[in-house]
Symmetry: C2
Subunit: 425 residues, 2 copies
């Protein structure tokens, strides 16, 4: 019996993959006007179905409370009128984005008259595996559709009812526009084995995008037979160089830590040149401690404020995702870059300095997806980059690096236009 | 004893990987002038070492004859003065290419004043596994160096002496320029187990590029734990549309098949609209048959020339890489596209037509790395695309698609330049 159920799941997942692959060819050449109509109709459906979505969300919340989810988890799970309107508006924002498919990335002529263009094409089929945030359903579905990809969504069991309700609106949008409903499929079962099947379906799924906690990302990176767009850690640094403007250093350091402590672009370690620590750090420590942030520092930081607790080696390696900050004094640019390369996660790192040469060296040499000068690491976000929505941030070096928006969900091909050229020799 | 040797190999390969990773950081910021100096000095070293390289090549050829290699294999293996000069000149041509590292791919400003640039960075460490052509040693080593990557080369055992001699010249070039010799490492052992180790070294090797026959590519694609830039097949089509110019159709079809039959861009299947078969095909068949090409066709083609043998289903799936061509009659654009999608390998496909709408539809809808209009598929080559040298052609959809030149051997990062911006909300 257990085996029969297992076979049934494998069969269902495979069938889902085949349907996705089959519609991918339709989506690849779907005109922009239809994709945008589907997105706008889905947004309208969400507004029309507001009571139904709220009711579904109440079921998830009730189950979540019964399961003893934390307040933070319940908050992530909660949909209210404002959040639902936000999700609908983001579908409309995706409709406003330019269509990446067919976009010319480069074009040049050869001496023999051949005209060569590099144009964007869809990637094919995207798999998205996420946890409790129901808005990912709409964002991921919308972005994949805009980029001409079919998508298979696998939401977390905690948000199963909400996810199904939002998915129904996306399907309604597709149907309104006359696009195949299989363009955005949702894995209906909450059986965890379904994730394992998705990760093995390299024939049907071209890329997997996991969204969620560390254990999900680790599992996906270890098991996926196809490329993965993800980041495991966001161990972001701000480095206060000796030529930093004190007011700017204070504003950036405090914002990078405190604005939101749970996002991947939040600063986790503050590096400060020892030569300016006594000038720069006291006001920053004041602000952080006043905001309820725990500060862990090396000996040089501890002497500046008695409330700083001793940092240990593990602190330089920890992504707190919380109101905790590790501070280390360094001896100049080389030392700072060496620390970031040794302990960082190649996500987002920022230097604060008025010294153009130091900034240029930092930007050139720090090998992270996003390297900043005089800006808060909290800007590490596709929306803030002007990409519209994002499906995640990648710290991989292949294909997509940094925020993953519609362009990163495309591949490309070469179009070679001739007038009868044949190749000599 | 066998186990001890196995452990020794694993240890040696791992040490090689660590050395590559260690020098990758040096190469990533190596100035263009040093990389180009190394390339030019290597070319000079090859000219200076001509007798030594020839002698090494003689050893390979003698061993190859003793092993009973085919004439074609021996030819691929043979180096003469002209070929060695060609290899040296291609190193100099790589030096002439622009430095991709640090190149701005895009740059834009945000309303809050943030300046965002997307700039190329090296990928890291490339592994290249190839068979008998000794020139791959120089091309792959040179391209990886130019793109700021460390590279681990694994040549075929048939060309072991020649490869070592060429590799020594590359190392001499690196040393002349003051760059680390470990930038271009060669796996010294001809033990086949070394390939298995390379494919598992995901920690030390970021991308694998296999160059060689189908069995090598299949093994690499199946076993590699890291991304692979490769194409398994080059089952390229030319489609003669009903609005094709007859003279152009003849020139392109004959060139696409006959110029070189053993390259991946050679046409393997010719599709022709049935409505124009009697007009277009006779002269093409004449040329092909006169050139010694075997022609296999469906019934409609066979009636045109008694020398055409019957094609079977397997012919539409076969990459002959030889003077054999399959010809099929189709009923218009839709039929041609459907055949290419069903049987092709997504490498290079070309339409011959004077009808702009048909060409546009073909270019938009055929999902191959290279899609051509009125040009011979034999132009599927990085050099012909103006990329300088190429390390191969990829039919994968991720990161690199089509010819893999220096740009495709890079990743990118975002540089965000601010004036103290912090993120609100």
């Amino acid at each position: 019996m257990a085996t029969a159920l297992k076979d049934q799941l494998a069969h269902d997942m495979d069938a889902m993959g085949r349907r996705a692959r089959a519609v991918a060819a339709v989506l690849a050449t779907a005109p922009r006007i239809l994709k945008d109509e589907a997105l706008r109709a889905a947004a309208q459906a969400m507004r029309a179905q507001l009571p139904g979505i709220m009711a579904a969300n109440h079921e998830d919340l009730a189950a979540g409370r019964a399961k003893g989810l934390t307040a933070a988890m319940l908050d992530r799970l909660t949909l209210d009128e404002r959040r639902i309107e936000g999700i609908a508006a983001s579908l409309e924002a995706i409709a406003e984005l330019g269509d990446p498919v067919g976009q010319e990335i480069a074009r040049w002529q050869r001496p023999n008259g051949l005209d060569i263009a590099r144009v964007r094409t869809p990637l094919g089929v995207i798999g998205v595996i996420y946890e409790s945030r129901p808005n990912v359903t709409a964002d991921a579905g919308g972005l994949c559709l805009k980029a001409g990809n079919a998508v298979i969504l696998r939401g977390g069991s905690e948000s199963a009812y909400s996810t199904r309700a939002i998915h129904a609106c996306l399907v309604e949008g597709l149907e309104t526009a006359g696009l195949p409903a299989d363009a955005i499929q949702l894995v209906a079962t909450t059986d965890r084995a379904a994730v394992g099947h998705m990760l093995e379906m390299a024939e049907h799924i071209d890329v997997i995008v996991p969204r969620g906690g560390r254990s999900l990302i680790e599992r996906v990176q270890a098991e996926a037979r196809m490329p993965v767009f993800a980041h495991l850690d966001g161990l972001c640094h701000v480095y206060l160089h000796e030529a930093a403007d004190p007011a700017m250093a204070r504003a950036i350091a405090v914002n990078a830590k405190i604005r939101r402590t749970g996002v991947c672009g939040a600063m986790e370690t503050l590096l400060c040149d020892a030569s300016v620590a006594a000038t720069l750090l006291p006001s920053i420590l004041e602000d952080l401690l006043a905001a309820g942030c725990e500060v862990r520092g090396d000996a040089g930081v501890q002497v500046l404020d008695s409330r700083v607790v001793a940092a240990c080696e593990a602190d330089w390696r920890t992504e707190y995702l919380d109101a905790i900050l590790a501070i280390k004094l360094v001896n100049g640019l080389e030392d700072a870059i060496a620390h970031i390369e040794a302990y960082g996660s190649h996500h987002t790192d920022s230097i604060v300095t008025m010294d153009a040469a130091a900034a240029a060296a930092f930007l050139a040499r720090v090998d992270s997806a996003i390297v900043m000068h005089n800006a808060s690491t909290q800007f590490a976000d596709g929306g803030e980059f002007g990409m519209g929505a994002e499906i995640g941030i990648s710290t991989g070096r292949m294909h997509a690096r940094g925020p993953v928006g519609v362009e990163q969900l495309t591949s490309f091909k070469y179009l070679v236009r001739g007038t009868g050229q044949t190749r000599p020799g």
